[in-house]
Amino acid sequence: MRTDAPSVSANGVATATPKPAPRRRSPALRKAFPYLLLAPALVYLLVITLYPGIFAIYQSLFVVKFLNWEWAGLGNYSSILQDREFWAALGNTALIGAISLSLQTGIALAIAYFAYRDPFIRGWRIVYLMPMLFMPSAVAFIWKLAFNDGRVISDLLGRLGLIEGNMDWLGSIPLARMTLIVADVWQWTPFLFIIFVAALQGQDQEIEEAARLDGASWPSIFWNISLPMMRPVIVVAITLRGIDITTMFTNVFVMTQGTPGGATETMSYFIYRQGFRMFNFGYASAASVLMLVLTVIIAQTVVKRAFHSGKK
């Protein structure tokens, strides 16, 4: 049957509406089309991520004195692995990150547990989110003022009768690290909170009711049922936050500059110091590459393991 035959309506009268000729794309365009769609994302990836990454790897193989590049092979890497400051920075990052992340997760879970059944949660969710909405450097300055320059916290604690006079927050290693942890917890707990609340609210209410009828208390429901069901979400959230914390820079730069005695120097700050204070670009690049590798390995293992055992 010819497709361009006049169509005949049910009562047998031919209607004279000709079909428009089907449009055809040129074969070349049809082949190129998927690549055209991918192009913006690829260009973005190349310019923002891939090029700097490859450049860093390349640079890490040289001793760089501004325009004077000297081939060093894996020399930078071997000196880094013998650099006590590098290992100290790695330890600081791990310690500050681990404490901060545990606190954030614990607090966020606790608030989420109490808040998710609240019908008004939608209304005050924004209040929880506020700290996250501020610029990180502004937050860092606020905490710097509160702890050190403005002595707000000392004053408050003094009025509560907990301490006398002014605390020198940068005078002791644990206290200096604590100021970084407080600032990070304050700003980023809401991120975890919002994810955990969403996960809890997304859980099937029938399951909670079934547990209730089975005789479980609210804490027991949370511990035995809600929390295990949230596991994949918790893992992803902690991984994201963990990556963020590993690269913690702003707070260190603004609040402590790594003092006292390098006790608050994180990996990012170490890299910054090597690159932009001491201008050891090759060395800084090598440290960056090491850190990238480390982060990827940890994140991969954590996520893989969490999802694998979750499926069994």
Partner: protein, 348 residues
């Protein structure tokens, strides 16, 4: 094992009345089905018995103890949910074990009781699986086992079969009934499926718009409906309800005449079940609208005036459409309802 008394219970959500002034006695060991269309308040009623919702008025007594304000976890009530509500992170074994753990049953008894419950629903071989690895029917049986294992006073089942396919539903239905008879546990079962209600129930409670329409055995509900709602809701296809007028012992509607008792007068509705209509005779003069053979019977739809009347015809009955046809009603099975929808009964 316990009886349940609902005394004038009521549930309001702001201005909306979910259940109004409902009183009901459920006997010990009884299988009671709450039946009605969606939104009729049947699930709300069950949730109030479970303690998942608090009534805004009235009293709930289970096993002689007032339970109105008692929390769900402290009522000895087990519930099977429409969506199974199994704990996805636990194996079937742990799922069944959960109520035992939560209720402080000695750990030494757990294993025997779990296996007994699992065997009862023929799930013995699946205990180490996670719910996600089971089919719908297996999940529902796991949910049943979880309800059975702790030997509660009352079973509540909220449309437990509605997520299953038709064939599975039939076999699960029998299994539930068998189990209830075996365990002799008072059971309240919510459904919108009248076949489930008819086959399972000792007594059926038909609800509509938050109020009880009729309470009775399946036979009573079927053969003695209290009003047009019950008459139209029960039966498949449902009862024919024909609006007309009655005078001097005769009911008249377009294309329909039928004898009626002397005390039926004025504007009334005649109810007649499709199986009490027969081809031939003189009660209806109409046209064939459609013929639907189903294998064991043939449904004939007759157009009388503007009213379509369903007839359960002989299995081999066939006809073209728009052919004149006459229908005869079985005079012993005619029901008359007043303008308010209530059944008109004789002074006797």
């Amino acid at each position: 094992m316990a009886s349940i008394h609902l005394q004038n219970i009521e549930k309001r959500y702001g201005g909306f009345v979910g259940v109004q002034n409902m009183s009901l006695e459920i006997a010990d060991e009884e299988f009671l089905v709450l039946l009605g269309p969606s939104g009729c308040g049947k699930t709300t009623t069950m949730r109030m018995i479970a303690g998942l919702e608090l009534p805004t008025g009235g009293k709930i007594v289970i096993g002689g103890e007032e339970m109105t304000e008692i929390d769900a976890r402290d009522r000895d009530v087990a519930m099977v949910f429409q969506g199974y509500a199994l704990y996805p992170n636990m194996s079937i074994y742990e799922n069944i074990r959960f109520p035992l753990r939560m209720r402080g049953v000695p750990a030494s008894e757990h294993d025997a009781r779990i296996r007994q419950a699992a065997d009862m629903v023929e799930l013995g071989g699946f205990l180490d699986r996670k719910p996600g690895a089971l089919s719908g029917g297996q999940r529902q049986r796991a949910a049943l086992a979880r309800a059975v294992v702790r030997q509660p006073q009352v079973f509540l089942m909220d449309e437990p079969l509605s997520n299953l396919d038709a064939k599975l539903r039939q076999s699960m239905r029998v299994q539930i009934k068998h189990m209830q008879r075996q365990l002799k546990v008072t059971t309240v079962y919510v459904t919108h499926d009248q076949i489930e209600a008819m086959t399972l129930a000792d007594r059926i409670v038909i609800m509509n718009k938050g109020a009880i329409q009729q309470v009775g055995t399946p036979d009573q509900i079927y053969s003695d409906p209290a009003n047009t709602f019950v008459a139209g809701f029960i039966g498949s296809p449902p009862m024919n309800l024909i609006e007309g007028t009655a005078q001097n012992g005769t009911f008249v509607a377009p294309g329909v005449t039928a004898p009626c008792p002397e005390y039926v007068r004025g504007k009334v509705t005649l109810g007649v079940r499709p199986e009490d209509c027969h081809v031939g005779g003189d009660n209806v003069q109409g046209m064939v609208y459609g013929v639907e053979p189903t294998g064991d019977t043939t449904y004939l739809t007759v157009l009388a005036g503007t009213k379509k009347i369903e007839v359960k015809a002989a299995r081999e009955y066939r006809s073209d459409i728009d052919v004149p046809v006459a229908i005869h009603f079985d005079p012993a099975h005619l029901y008359f309802f007043g303008e308010d929808g209530q059944r008109i009964r004789g002074a006797a």
